[in-house]
């Protein structure tokens, strides 16, 4: 299974990953629409992103979230009813939403962000 791996100690908070992600999926450079978020801390930065743990699969009332054959947890937007339980229940706080859309969004380990990261703080790995 492909997963985005994080090494926060290498993160310099340039936010390039956020730009890459939102541009890929929403055609817009806007961190509020990114599936990866960098929280700047005093000592260390925190990289918030999905671990593909699958907890959100079990809380979705309409089974809109499933794991695909590559192990990636995906949302089927056509059946999602926009309840955002998955947003509130994600242990990583890595299920995101934006008021412009009525469905949530999450990392699908596409790797576009990792390509832009100057320090290799994030990378796509096979588990």
């Amino acid at each position: 299974m492909k997963v985005l791996k994080r090494k926060p100690e290498l993160c310099i908070a340039c936010h390039a990953c956020e730009s890459a992600c939102s541009t890929t999926w929403f055609k817009e450079d806007n961190a509020e629409k990114s599936c990866i978020r960098i929280k700047e801390g005093e000592k260390e930065n925190v990289i918030v992103s999905c671990t593909q743990c699958g907890e959100c699969i079990d809380v979705c009332p309409v089974q809109a979230i499933t794991r695909d054959k590559n192990g990636i947890v995906r949302i089927n937007k056509s059946i999602c009813v926009g309840c955002f339980i998955c947003v509130g229940f994600c242990p990583e706080l890595a299920m995101f939403m934006n008021d412009e859309y009525i469905e949530p969004f999450k990392c699908v380990a596409c790797g576009q962000c990792a390509k832009q990261c100057p320090t290799e703080a994030i990378s796509i790995e096979q588990e």
């Binding site: 009332p61 009813v81 926009g82 309840c83 509130g88 009525i102 469905e103």
Partner: protein, 717 residues
């Protein structure tokens, strides 16, 4: 199940086409009227007055009911209506508990308007199909089904002779029949009753939702007050609504963002804290069984006592192990509180479905206490079996539990005997007798049929036919206004006695549950404090019913810092959430005070409706003494130390050297007087006369001095 055969037996009585609606800020601005007597189907416009004064949900229900009936209308008069409505907030998917339907009708038990709050998808799907409410009037000749297709804009009344009556089968049959395929089943909700509702006055309505994981329907109950009996009297077999395309913004809210924000905040709270607080996600409302026992609040043996050494056998731990875990059991989308628990593959041991493996929707606390401890039954399997049969037969578990407990006490006191019961040995603890009585109720036979008339009628019959002592029966028969008490022991909490007694529809805890505030935490010591609580909480809780909301996510979870707030019992943070989601949907700008006034209008309307029907006065707010104190020496002696101490410290009566009878009499006089004083204080706070009639000044002050209301109250001032 041969669905084609069932379907081919249908006869179309009426088809009606309508323009699909558009929801604006929570309202479709249109309701649906159906008369089953002459098959009229028509649309009505929601007026500004309705929205301003009645908001929606049970406000709309009571408003239509008022216009439909006269003071002479009985529950089984053709003009009596069943009104089902969501509410402006109903159908949002982000905030837990936002999919309730409110059902109103004149009750066979009370003769007054009844309202019941129920989960399942019907209310929201009805709204998305284009209607803020559905009015059902008249009576059909033969069993009919009303089908609303919210995607094609079609309504059909079909004669339906062959389907089952019992809900667990009928719900499946109709879901299968009206869905195009498996995927489509989630778009269907069925409302149905069951065979006991053909006979008993305590019939309920089941509302379904389709559980996509179990691939079966689930049943949620509009339980109280016999609305299922009215439904069957109208010869309605079922209502079916179908709407495909639910999304999170169909209410077209004024401000989706504020709804999202409040919803996600509460989801997080539930995720982080539910395990530490009430464990609603694991075991639902049954989490409190042992807590109630511990505080002497779990009704046992017809409310004689508040606890029992055997309670551990039906504790929440026992039920947790029987309930299927880790499934999203919300009764509408977005309810992360997820209390709609179920026991799967439960094998029935009795009755017509013996041997079948079924889903038991529950057990909820009320069922465990009512069907269980109150009847001295501490067998979890028997409780689940009773729970299942009550639901599918359409019997209100609360009324059933409370009236069975009453019958058991009558039986043990020799007021009724085996000859009268047709052989049923109704001793406390006899679960087989309780089950057999329930099956009789469904078959419309024997003593079970009689029992279904409810405690008020049973008291009369026992006095008239078997020479029972009316004073004793009135003391121990736990009903008021004709409705059976729900399952909390109110003896040691005066505020809760008021919470049961000073209600509109009868002794149901959905108006006020003050036992902990009052008895355990002593937060409302004076009459004025209690009166304030008996004003605020009933009004606050009424508001859920105006909006299509559930009460549980308000205070069955609390923010981590709730205790530090000024009024923890109100959960101020959640009150603000409700203000935010209401404003978010409707675009209005209410605050927490206006929220209370919105409720006050409808609450006073309902009180005046009761008065119009010949009730709703002070005498109707009296409660049986069993709810206030020890009726029998057995009860007194079981808590002698407590009562003796109270006599000394509160009553100023020295118990030493007195007989139990003398002590009981002194305590009784004191407690009755306390209840009267409380009643005075509450009426005053609510703006009512000492006879319980809302004054014209008060109606003016809350903006509810509608001419038809003033006309009613004037006769009683």
């Amino acid at each position: 199940m041969n669905i084609e055969k069932l379907k081919s037996a249908h006869k179309l009585l009426k088809e009606y086409k309508y323009e699909l609606g558009k929801i604006e800020r929570g309202y479709t601005n249109r309701t649906l009227y159906i008369n089953l007597g002459d098959n009229t189907i028509k649309e009505k416009t929601v007026t500004q007055l309705m929205k301003d004064k009645f908001i929606g949900g049970k406000g709309f229900g009571l408003y239509y009911l008022w216009n439909a009936v006269t003071p002479d209308t009985k529950w089984n008069s053709p003009e009596n209506e069943i009104v089902i409505a969501s509410g402006p907030v109903g159908g949002i998917t982000q905030y837990p508990g936002s999919g309730k339907s409110l059902v109103c009708s004149l009750s066979p038990l009370t003769g007054m308007p009844m309202d019941s709050n129920v989960g399942g998808y019907f209310g929201p799907l009805l709204k998305f199909s284009g209607f803020d409410a559905l009015e059902l009037q008249g009576k059909a000749d033969k069993d009919v089904i009303v089908f609303i297709d919210g995607n094609s804009g079609t309504i059909r009344i079909e004669e339906a002779p062959e389907e089952a009556i019992d809900s667990h089968i009928l719900g499946e049959q109709l879901t299968e029949m009206y869905a195009e395929n498996e995927e489509d089943k989630r778009n269907i909700s069925v409302v149905s009753a069951g065979s006991a509702a053909n006979n008993a006055y305590i019939g309920l309505l089941n509302f379904t939702f389709y559980d996509v994981r179990r691939k079966q329907i689930r049943l949620k109950q509009a339980g109280r007050g016999g609305i299922g009996t009215v439904f069957r009297d109208k010869k309605i077999k079922a209502l079916v609504v179908k709407f495909a395309g639910v999304k999170g913004n169909l209410n077209n809210p004024a401000d989706q963002s504020s709804i999202n924000k409040a919803g996600i905040k509460l989801h997080k709270e539930i995720h982080d804290l539910d395990d530490k607080q009430n464990r609603m996600r694991q075991v639902g409302t049954a989490n409190i069984i042992e807590v109630m026992d511990q505080y002497d609040l779990l009704p046992t043996h017809n409310y004689k006592f508040g606890g029992h050494p055997d309670t551990y056998k039906i504790s929440s731990k026992v039920f947790t192990s029987m309930i299927t875990q880790n499934t999203p059991d919300g009764c509408w989308y977005g309810c992360s509180m997820s209390c709609a628990k179920a026991v799967d593959r439960f094998e029935l041991k009795t009755g017509p479905y013996k041997g079948q493996k079924v889903i038991v929707d529950g057990p909820e606390y009320e069922n465990a206490a009512g069907l269980g401890s109150n009847c001295g039954i501490f067998d979890p399997y028997a409780i689940l079996e009773l729970n299942f049969y009550c639901d599918t037969y359409a019997v209100d578990t609360i009324s059933y539990g409370t009236l069975t407990a009453f019958l058991m006490e009558c039986y043990e006191n020799g007021i009724i005997n085996k000859e009268i019961t047709g052989g049923l040995e109704l001793n406390f603890g006899n679960s087989s007798a309780s089950l057999e009585m329930l099956h009789q109720m469904a078959r419309g036979e024997g003593f079970g049929k009689l029992a279904g008339l409810g405690i008020r009628n049973l008291k009369r019959i026992f006095v008239e036919q078997y020479g029972a002592d009316p004073v004793f029966l009135n003391d121990i028969g736990m009903e008021q206004k004709g409705l059976e008490f729900s399952e909390y022991m109110p003896k040691e909490s005066l505020a809760q006695q008021g919470g049961y007694g000073l209600t509109n529809k009868g002794p149901q805890h959905d108006e006020a549950w003050l036992i902990f505030m009052d008895m355990v935490n002593n937060q409302i010591p004076t009459f004025e404090d209690k009166a304030e609580a008996l004003h605020y909480f009933p009004m606050f809780r009424t508001w859920f019913g105006l909006n299509g909301l559930c009460k549980l996510p308000w205070n069955d979870i609390a923010p981590a810092d709730n205790k530090l707030t000024e009024e923890p019992a109100k959960i101020p943070d959640h009150v603000q959430n409700y203000v935010d989601i209401f404003n978010g949907v409707t675009g209005k700008k209410i605050d927490k005070n206006e929220l209370i006034v919105q409720s006050e209008r409808v609450y006073n309307f309902q009180r005046i409706f009761n008065i119009r029907m010949g009730y709703g006065k002070r005498i109707h707010d009296a409660i049986p003494y069993r709810a206030m104190g020890p009726v029998t020496a057995e009860e007194y002696l079981s808590r002698q130390e407590r009562y003796d101490k109270q006599l000394k410290e509160l009553v100023g009566f020295n118990p030493e050297g007195k007989t139990t009878e003398e002590k009981m009499a002194a305590l009784r006089a004191y407690r009755k007087d306390q209840y009267e004083k409380l009643t005075d204080a509450v009426y005053k706070r609510r703006g009512w006369t000492m006879d319980g009639v809302p004054t014209v000044e008060h109606l003016k002050a809350i903006g509810m001095d509608l001419p038809e209301l003033v006309e009613v109250v004037k006769k009683h001032l």
